[in-house]
């Protein structure tokens, strides 16, 4: 068991086309570190140079926005589902 991380379409180029990745970690930060280890280059798309979540990207743990939980220190456990949702503008 691990945490399922859902990867949005624009980032799937970096995950060999995978839309869902099983990652390990106890917090969102640890998950992103593990994701970066598996697919180098992903994390800098989601976080800025100081490691903070970019302001146009939202992360949901089990459908709750981590901004309203403990941010990137939000705890995760086996079986949780994490979605990464960037803003889009096209029309």
């Amino acid at each position: 068991m691990a945490v399922t991380v859902r990867i949005p379409t624009p980032l799937q180029r970096l995950t060999n086309g995978q839309g869902e990745i099983q990652c390990d970690g106890k917090t969102v930060t640890e998950l992103l570190t593990d994701l970066e280890r598996r697919y180098p280059g992903v994390k800098e798309r989601i976080c800025d140079e100081s490691g903070k979540l970019r302001r146009f990207v939202n992360i949901f743990v089990n459908e709750e926005d981590i901004r309203f939980m403990q941010g990137d220190q939000t705890a995760v456990k086996d079986g949780d589902e994490v979605s990464i949702i960037p803003a889009i503008a096209g029309g």
């Binding site: 379409t9 839309g19 280059g41 989601i46 889009i88």
Partner: protein, 284 residues
Amino acid sequence: MPLSNAEILRYSRQLILPEVGVSGQRRLKASSVLLIGAGGLGSPAALYLAAAGVGRIGLVDPEVVALSNLHRQILHATADVGRPKTQSAKDRIASLNPEIAVEVVQAHVAADNARQLLLPYELILDGSDNFQTRYLVNDACVLLGKPLVHGAAVHARGHVLTILPRQTACFRCVFPEPPQPDAIPNCQEAGVLGTAVGVIGSLMAHEALKVLLGLGAPLTNRLLVFDGMTSRFREVPVRRDPGCAVCGETPTLHELVAVDDVRCETGRSAQALAKGGPGTFDGR
């Protein structure tokens, strides 16, 4: 507003819905919607709202029809290439439903004209193609108290959110700041499936009808995410952000300001994005 016999016949299949009825149809006839953008989202949305009998439809779009628009922008035809989208759209809507009024403005929505453009309408539907317009329209709707249906699509993915200003989460509550230019691929660079943008545009019109008629439960405080590759809909709960710059507890935005951004079909070079440096939300 009374309905003519021709109108009763035209709208009969929706009139017989107990949730609509003659009173609902009259309500639609008396209503007005402004569509920002007559492109991939605005096309199906405008057609459905016109067909449903929304009495006054406004369209704002600065562009002319290009051949590369036609795979998704179903308001426009091959013979319209080179014409202003607003004119093409007006003709198409008039041929579909001559009972309604169509008002068009060929312009960009900007900080200095947004208020004037939005004010005469009851509900706003944002089908624009760039973050600058999206934040501006969101802020204008919050400041003016206009319900807003937000929709966006790129590649095969889309979002829809209905916003009731100061009651439900606005676009800024969900995404506090726009990405830096080049951070997010647009339609021109990433491509878009016409059917995916059609799904989102149709949902936007659907939400607008529901809000105008007071039907069911609007898509508020829930961001609907469509993944066209798996044909899955997912929704994530969103909520008003007390720190929101426009509708939070201590707002910092009290008037409209421009956000720097670039547009979808301006012919901009994709080279900057193709480099895919840090800060670019794209895997290339």
